[in-house]
């Protein structure tokens, strides 16, 4: 009885396993395995779209970007997408190479597949905030694709990479302008700051006068002798207050402890990707 039950559950487990594996086998048959090129540097130009000089120049810019911001940005050109969409290929390539730092996932790939006529900016989890999909889309539509259409692949790649570098370095405001919401808040802040700087001193002057008058009237009530002393302590207080106030305005720049020690070999920092970015075709 027990044996029969055990046998039954075992055979059930085997059937379940077979059922589980069957679709896998089918999957393996229908699509060819993904082929990933080797990560040979910050520029992996498998489709040979760039000249040596361009490669060197762009590679230097990408290295600069990493030392400045820790963001890893790799440019890839491919001869084939192994029969996948560029979206499906892109994030898996990024994960395989581990582009971006492990803790911040700030990796970006610019992928060009000239045979499929597809281009994609693949953005790691951590870089999605600084390089949103809409910005990637605009860079592809307005900078890269017009050049690609004119058969200027190298020009498109270099110009597109330049814009991405600009955005990743904290610039590229022209790409972020479009949505109206983004502009309202800075305007409001600027108005407030202007008001603060113009009316702030007046308010302070009024306050100081009021305090001085009050301290004088008080000291006259308490006695003529202490008047001078009391006034001085008050001004001392004001002085020390204003000096500490001005020092708090200086922004403390956080120095990043991260440094790229090896200039020769390049490897991914272990960042991951979740499908952020944008694609285009020409």
């Amino acid at each position: 009885m027990r044996f029969a039950a055990a046998g039954k559950s075992l055979s059930r487990a085997l059937i379940a396993l077979a059922l589980l594996l069957a679709p896998l086998a089918a999957f393996a048959q229908t699509s060819e395995p993904l082929q990933f090129p080797e990560l040979t540097g910050r520029i992996v130009d498998r489709a040979s779209l760039l000249s040596d000089a361009q490669r060197k120049e762009l590679s230097r810019k990408l290295e600069d970007l990493e030392t400045k911001t820790t963001a890893q940005f790799v440019v890839v050109t491919l001869t084939s997408l192994s029969g996948r969409t560029i979206e499906e290929y892109g994030y898996q390539l990024g994960r395989r190479w581990g582009i971006g730092q492990k803790t911040t996932n700030n990796g970006v790939l610019l992928i060009v597949a000239p045979n499929e006529r597809k281009v994609r900016i693949e953005v790691g989890y951590g870089a999605e905030g600084i390089l949103p999909d809409a910005v990637s889309s605009l860079i592809i539509q307005r900078v890269i694709i017009p050049k690609f259409r004119a058969n200027d692949y190298a020009g498109g790649i270099v110009a597109g990479a330049d814009e991405i570098i600009k955005v990743l370095s904290g610039g590229g405001e022209e790409w972020k302008r479009p949505p109206q919401q983004g502009q309202q808040i800075p305007d409001w802040v600027i108005v407030l700051l202007v008001l603060l700087f113009t009316f702030g001193p007046i308010f302070l002057a009024v306050l100081i006068t009021w305090l001085t008058v009050r301290s004088i009237t008080r000291s006259t009530i308490h006695g003529q002798k202490q008047k001078g002393k009391k006034q001085q302590t008050f001004w001392e207080r004001v002085n020390s207050g204003s000096s500490s106030g001005s020092s708090s305005w200086s922004s403390s720049s956080s120095s990043s402890s991260w440094s790229s020690s090896d200039s020769g070999g390049f490897s991914g920092g272990g960042g991951s990707f979740g499908g952020g970015g944008s694609s285009g075709s020409w």
Binding site: P132, D133, A134, S136, S137, F273, G276, S278
Partner: protein, 209 residues
């Protein structure tokens, strides 16, 4: 005196040996995959959280999309209300990580999301007829965001399917099946997506400029 010392030594040796056995046992069982089921379970749950997140993200984009289209194509009321209703229905069905063993609930979830995909697809198709809308900066931005979100959904779904496959396989294959039938009796196989990804995706409407 001597006997006492020997006794003490002996007792200590026994204690050390038993400690050693316990440590070895712990190592052995850990190596044997006693932790595998809970580990894979947590991983699959985390992946489900990501799926849920990305669908939520899409849902959050819709009010803005509807407003933008409304501004240019007021007369397309039917399509617009269809999107709003599909969104309301889809946001009602939420599945938290403890419910992912329930295949029925997951099916309801993906049916609702698929309805929403269809409604968004129709809205984008309708937008094709309005050149002003198509070229509006707001709409282009939203479209890029929507595409990006669709792609993130696809990635999150694939990651979830893979995590569930690993977990379910662990439950049903050799070292795991022992632990599943003894220590983790309440561990049930998780449900996975049945509707193919292509059908879930919003149809890609290409705008010709």
């Amino acid at each position: 005196m001597a006997a006492n010392a020997a006794n003490f030594f002996f007792a200590n040796a026994v204690r050390i040996r038993s400690l050693g056995i316990v440590a070895l046992l712990a190592l052995f069982t850990a190596g044997c995959g006693v932790n595998a089921i809970p580990t894979y379970e947590e991983q699959a749950k985390a992946k489900w959280g990501e799926v849920q997140n990305q669908y939520q993200r899409r849902s959050d984009l819709i009010p803005n999309l509807v407003e933008t289209v409304k501004g240019f194509a007021q007369q397309e009321r039917d399509v617009l209300t269809a999107v709003v209703e599909a969104r309301a229905k889809a946001t009602q069905i939420r599945i938290d990580a403890s419910q992912i063993t329930d295949a029925e609930a997951l099916k309801r979830f993906q049916d609702a999301q698929q309805q929403l995909s269809g409604a968004i697809g129709r809205l984008l198709a309708v937008a094709e007829a309005y050149p002003d809308l198509k070229s509006s900066q707001n709409f282009l931005t939203l479209q890029a965001q929507l595409e990006g979100t669709e792609n993130r959904i696809a990635v999150a779904r694939r990651d979830y399917i893979e995590a569930v496959r690993i977990y379910n396989t662990e439950l049903r294959t050799f070292p795991g099946i022992l632990w599943a039938s003894t220590l983790y009796r309440d561990a049930k196989p998780m449900a996975t997506f049945t509707i193919p990804e292509e059908q879930m995706r919003v149809p890609n409407v290409k705008f010709t400029k």
